[in-house]
Symmetry: C2
Subunit: 431 residues, 2 copies
């Protein structure tokens, strides 16, 4: 029997450090080749990866089965096991996603605002990749293919760190990605899936500004807050979505009911679902009874302010905490407000800056709401559920940013690029 | 005689914390009013501040004299005292700067990319202020007026922290700013000049994400690195400028000499001055002797690679460190390279990502350089000295960003804004 070696903690950490340094350096090198790669080559790689995924279905399912088995043994709950599961439809979906990203216009190299200046030089801006993007995510293995595809199309190198529970699935997907990259003549290090589940590796990934240009965490609020707190690299973060619909007293009653119902009940566990409904006191008695009936049919628990409860007997009393809670569940807080001014004030105090919508027929109030509400998406007479990269026409989405800096709202390919200045002269010097 | 009280360190820190918390909350409140303020009101405030500065020249000069006196007593060097000095021309210049910013187009509210989507909603993007901007700078008091004006025009509230050596000058300028804001009906807290020279206050300013949306440090590399390391708020940073000019072997000799001479000698202490000259070996013998003569006349010290020194006897040997040094002085490192490939490689290894220029008549090489060099400004046949907000037509400049995220290159009003998504429907819901 072979001697069992135990690696001292310190040595293990040194190994992780060396490993991450290699990963970073390889990514930086690959990013140069990716920045140079033409559209045709990048699209060929995306299509080749899609073909690889379909051709290796059996291997992917086997790897996933291993993860599921370990997950069950480790006592993961049903919801987590469900997110972890890869099946034939999931693999076909990944391949289809890659083809859709191949079909999108290439953002890289776009030149805009090119103008002559009085000095005689021409100045413009060219869209360029960010460089190396680190993506940290949780259990869904399809994120591995999606995130790799978005980084690849936007000319970036990617370092992907999936959940440890999806380790074998992610490794099998990575093999398909590498085969596809190499088939198209691109460096395999353009997409690296981290080969360690050591938590220290994440700590290193987010503190290597020399190798990593931006971190995109995809996951729960806890993950994102932890990463933001420790990162020494810019983070494009998507915190929570405490989204509001405000029904103005000049709202069309039917539109108001339709939007408020859809924004809450279309899907519960999503960041663009409405969590708080604000209603102008002038229309509360007209819209709340019908909404109360509809929410009741769906089993939505209502938590209201005193004025709401005077109209909706079934509503329980909302606590101060309710106005700051992202339920992600069939629960809704409702508050009656005097009017637009107070609705905006409530939103500024309690919103997470994700998405807010006003229902009104009054163009002046719509204009004010659009201008004054400081959220990544601000809407008039539309359901908050539209706040989504696909609905907005971005073609794909790596997340929804609740930051103000760089990318705000749904982030597609453009959010993974920056713009540099380009200057063309003919021997021009500064006098 | 009054009893002298000594404040215990702990109490002093508590006071700073309470003070900064007040400053932050007041700025956040004022930022709402600023975001709503119309162009005419903001421009009126800028013009009123300009008028206040001119009307209060005597008070400004007296305050500045106090700073200069204390600075001399504290043994500040001549260069620092020079930067600290405010005279009539300086005050006129500040007022003129304010008028120029008033004359610029208002970036806030611009709606772009408004399109119908298949669902029937209209989706577009609206340019909006970032919110609260913290600016940390060193001795020049005119930055107080410049920075305030840029934040004001872009609809932001500003918290300004100048150098302690300019304390009285900045306070006098702040009085003019407040008078101008109030004359235009804007809140005085829209621009707050910090009333403490306690270093802990800066530490608090850069770690209050609830009150501050972005920090712009203006100063030396040391200041910026320290702030970046400690900030918990996004930082738009301007690190050093190790700028390169590459003279290709297909360069026009006259343009090459003119540009390489101008990029080094037009001004020495600026971030867009060339620090390293790269020359293709095929033209080194044609351009270096003439350049050596011109640099010699100007007293520029040359530090060269062996191939350079074989042509220019006066060049001393460049050390490895030279390629990574921002001289900000009449010193130039020169390296002969085989060609474009090696020039780009050298730039990727040693550039600080600020500005690089190629001199070539070959359109293919120009295209490659523009595409592959990953710096905030990339130029063809132009002096690096053009990398400047005014030369680029931004009308004003808060700094030059060497970051890739958000703003890159010269940062004007646009860099102090973000874009939110706006959605207009007519009762649209997600099916």
């Amino acid at each position: 029997m072979a001697k069992i070696m135990t690696v001292p903690a310190e040595t293990a950490q040194l190994d992780v450090r060396a490993y991450m340094s290699d990963v970073g350096r390889q990514a930086r090198e690959a990013s140069r080749a990716m920045a140079r790669a033409g559209t045709r080559v990048k699209d060929a790689a995306l299509l080749a990866i899609a073909a690889q995924l379909l051709a290796n279905e059996a291997a992917l399912l086997a790897a996933n089965a291993r993860d599921l088995e370990q997950g069950r043994a480790a006592g993961l709950d049903a919801a987590l096991l469900d997110r972890l599961t890869l099946n034939t439809a999931g693999i076909t979906g990944m391949a289809e996603g890659l083809r859709q990203i191949a079909a999108l216009p290439d953002p890289v190299g776009e030149i805009t605002d090119m103008n002559y200046r009085p000095s005689g030089i021409q100045v413009g801006r060219m869209r360029v990749p960010l460089g190396v993007i680190g993506i940290i995510y949780e259990s869904r293995p399809n994120v591995t293919a999606d995130a790799a595809a978005l980084c690849l199309k936007s000319g970036n190198a990617a370092i992907l760190r999936g959940g440890s529970e999806a380790f074998h699935s992610n490794r099998a997907i990575a093999a398909c990605i590498h085969a596809g990259l190499e088939a198209a003549g691109l460096p395999r290090h353009a997409v690296q899936v981290m080969e360690t589940t050591d938590r220290a590796a994440v700590g290193l990934l987010i503190t290597m500004p020399e190798y990593v240009d931006v971190i995109v965490p995809r996951g729960g609020k806890g993950l994102i807050e932890r990463i933001s707190a420790e990162a020494r690299v810019p983070v494009i973060k998507h915190l929570n979505g405490i989204c509001h619909v405000y029904i103005d007293d000049r709202a069309d009653r039917d539109k108001a009911v339709r939007i408020a119902f859809n924004a809450k009940t279309h899907r519960y566990g999503v960041c663009n679902a409405m969590e708080t409904l604000l209603v102008a006191e002038g229309v509360a008695a007209q819209v709340l009874p019908e909404l109360g009936r509809l929410y009741g049919e769906k089993g939505v628990e209502l938590r209201g302010c005193p004025a709401t409860r005077a109209i909706l007997a079934q509503a329980v009393e909302a606590t101060a905490e309710d106005w700051d809670t992202e339920y992600l569940a069939p629960i809704l807080s409702i508050r009656v407000v005097p009017g637009l001014e107070e609705a905006i004030e409530h939103i500024h105090r309690h919103s997470s800056g994700h998405t807010e919508s006003i229902v009104t027929e009054d163009i002046g109030r719509a204009r004010r709401f659009l201008t004054e509400v400081d959220s990544s998406s601000v809407m008039v007479n539309a359901s908050t559920r539209f706040a989504d990269g696909f609905e907005y026409g971005l073609g794909a989405e790596i997340g929804i940013s609740t930051d103000k800096i760089h990318a705000r709202g749904p982030v597609g390919l453009e959010g993974l690029t920056s713009r540099k200045y380009i200057v063309v002269g003919d021997g021009h010097i500064r006098e």
